[in-house]
Symmetry: C2
Subunit: 491 residues, 2 copies
Amino acid sequence: MGKPKKAAVIGGGVIGGGWAARLVLAGVDVAIADPDPDAKRKLDAIMANAERAMARLWPGQTIGDPGQLTYEDSIGAAVSGADLVQESAPERLDLKKRIHQEIGEAASDDAIIGSSTSGLLPSDIQAEMPHADRMMVAHPYNPVYLLPVVEIVGGQKTSADAIAKAMTIYASIGMKPVHLQKEIDAFVGDRLLEAMWRESLWLIKDGIATAETIDDVVRYGLGLRYAQMGQFMTYRLGGGEAGMRHFLEQFGPSLQWPWTKLMDVPDWDDDLIDMIASQSDAQAKGKSIHELEEIRDNNLVDILKALKANDWGAGALIQNPAEDRVKSGDQRLPDGEVLETWSGRVDQNWTDYNGHMTEFRYLEVFSMATDRLLVWVGGGPAYVETGSSWYTIETHIKHIDEVAAGKPMRVETQLISHDAKRIHLFHKLYGVEKGNLLATGEHMLMHVDMTAGRSSPMPDAMKALCDTIAERQAGLPRPDEIGASIGLRQK
Amino acid sequence: MGKPKKAAVIGGGVIGGGWAARLVLAGVDVAIADPDPDAKRKLDAIMANAERAMARLWPGQTIGDPGQLTYEDSIGAAVSGADLVQESAPERLDLKKRIHQEIGEAASDDAIIGSSTSGLLPSDIQAEMPHADRMMVAHPYNPVYLLPVVEIVGGQKTSADAIAKAMTIYASIGMKPVHLQKEIDAFVGDRLLEAMWRESLWLIKDGIATAETIDDVVRYGLGLRYAQMGQFMTYRLGGGEAGMRHFLEQFGPSLQWPWTKLMDVPDWDDDLIDMIASQSDAQAKGKSIHELEEIRDNNLVDILKALKANDWGAGALIQNPAEDRVKSGDQRLPDGEVLETWSGRVDQNWTDYNGHMTEFRYLEVFSMATDRLLVWVGGGPAYVETGSSWYTIETHIKHIDEVAAGKPMRVETQLISHDAKRIHLFHKLYGVEKGNLLATGEHMLMHVDMTAGRSSPMPDAMKALCDTIAERQAGLPRPDEIGASIGLRQK
């Protein structure tokens, strides 16, 4: 089945509110029941966070038709007619049993009933309720509107049909349902978290490291791997070309070493090695270590860029190897008539749904080429810090040929003309392999006194460097594209 | 001190090679010593990975001047004159002691000597070597050229001066050195990893979940939090407005619950609660829960976008709420003369070093506006799948006003003219708060038969919708910007 038409959210705290936000923004009508008189205010705050996140994910996109959000006075009224019932009440078994009794009495025969409990067993919660066959644990992670994983754990009475239906329902709202084979206290995620937590408590109590140091080791290190690959896939790469079995055989003995205060370990025998190695093979779906390394590095680069854009954590550390030299002004104008202002490749993330470099990336490349030329005439980032800058006031791009991801490109730049306040530039973007012209960019830049907020003459030294470029390029032909206009009637 | 001038890398496997790549790309000369006859081939592969990653981080940027990489036959020759010596030999104490003896004999008095060991104690390694006061553990994570964290652990003989100097040296090459207060087997990161690993082995052995399921719980869930905030900061947010102390008091009892097979737990007393709560306060540096939630969500959104660009993990799940409707063609042309084709905000990551929306993002917005109009005439993603598409062949942008991050904007679009194969569009981008015109975009689009690789007439139904727009907009004045050209001489 597809998306639920109506969902009931029972309990509207941080988790319940996160469910409501995810469901509403996915276009599902939500009826919420929560005895807290402050529930609406809290939910409004969560909805605002979720809407803000969605607007950043899809800038300028209409968020489809959001679902209707209604508040009900009783669990029964909220549950009535819902395809999905999600309970997120406090973690007390007696309370949850009572709530699920009410849910079961009001639920339709084919509703899926999920509990957000992070530790209680579904068999205990469902023991006496009606419709127990439809009830299961569906344990999400905070913030529910952004994190996709949900652990699906059936109890003794849960039907296979309900589990199968739940897997499609949660996937339909953008989640990643993972089905655990057996019920167990705390399921999988909280077990892993609890193990790390207990180890961390020892590290703090024993004075090895502070909370901040422990967090830093995570967010500058292993967390960057965990955001894209889990432990087993990461270790598969750690084994290198020799693969997972080799890694396991090497790593096994450490189970006997005093590497943790938590010492109850399973027997490290051939059966366990076989089980893990074959599960790891299945998980890799035939991808070689080299392919997985490339995927890992691509993901890491883009995660680091994402964090850099927010000036946070590992991203804030990234050093641009050229930046020091640019800032210190140590970027001299190269000799010669032809100025190569950019060379690089079409990034894999620069393509559109046609598989070609998407149009705004052409301007990104031209913009980088312009920045390089500005550095050469003394107008780079260090100059901007003095309070003046060059603003692009006009741009004219002609697209001539398409180019695919990974292909090398280069930009040649011609200074068409300049006066005291303006620079008129022309960029030619070439494919390197075929030497074909991909696009041209004609740009007018204005020198601006940012403090005064108006155009101003550039400094003499900068003007002299522009004069030098103009002299050197005096022999270049004036490109046909210069001064051209767009229009159907010209043809 | 700043960057080292010369570094010696002793052992060139996955970790040593990663060190060499990070150092060389940071502009440091590296002398490498490794007895493996295959060392150069392996290192070349790692260098290629690292160079590829750097090119993606900084597209088209000159990677400064990379350091020189030389191979030496002996440890002594590699170490001679190095400011930093990094040993990454196999994890055998006798071997490491022998290597550090040689390193100590050849090292200059002020060299920093780091061992990449992931578990051996620095006091054991340094016990008998010369220059033991300069030796410490400096434990990185794979891939060293991308992951910044390095655990700095001194031994009994390590001087405070050497630790202080190491903290600046490793930071100078873009790393995050974290100093542990005491030496301990496996340090911090591998303790956390080992705790999770041991718990995971139980989960597999007991048949609760497979390796893939466990990894999925990590990469679709907790790993996305760990990439930006560690455990303690995450739990601080979990406590909501009531803060970390409240969270700890609630969470404490779970230490006595059977939530892990690893049961040796510290006493959960007021001292431990005080210690953690105050360390968490220090770490938050005065940021409120609400501020931290916003940071968390911004990071999550950008990490998810990063993974989406690579069609991997949690990113591959992100649903565009509008996409279903666009794909199914259910996006009808709105009525009226004025067509609003885009509205949204300047994303916080769209600004340049002047703090304004950077130039290529204007084209990104115009491009989204064009896409919306194409959807309305039946030329959206579903149409592209039939083998035809609209390509932008020419673009002319005029910048009129600047706009800062977070500001709302909207685009109005006018169909200037069209024929069988071409559409001539004009976008006006307005700031919503002041109603001021920020920029205009004039675009010529060509209808292309992608299979034949040439222009082709658009379908009649699409042409009819263009005719409808043209009729409705017949009363709009022709913008002055249409058909304009760029040039200094016009002024």
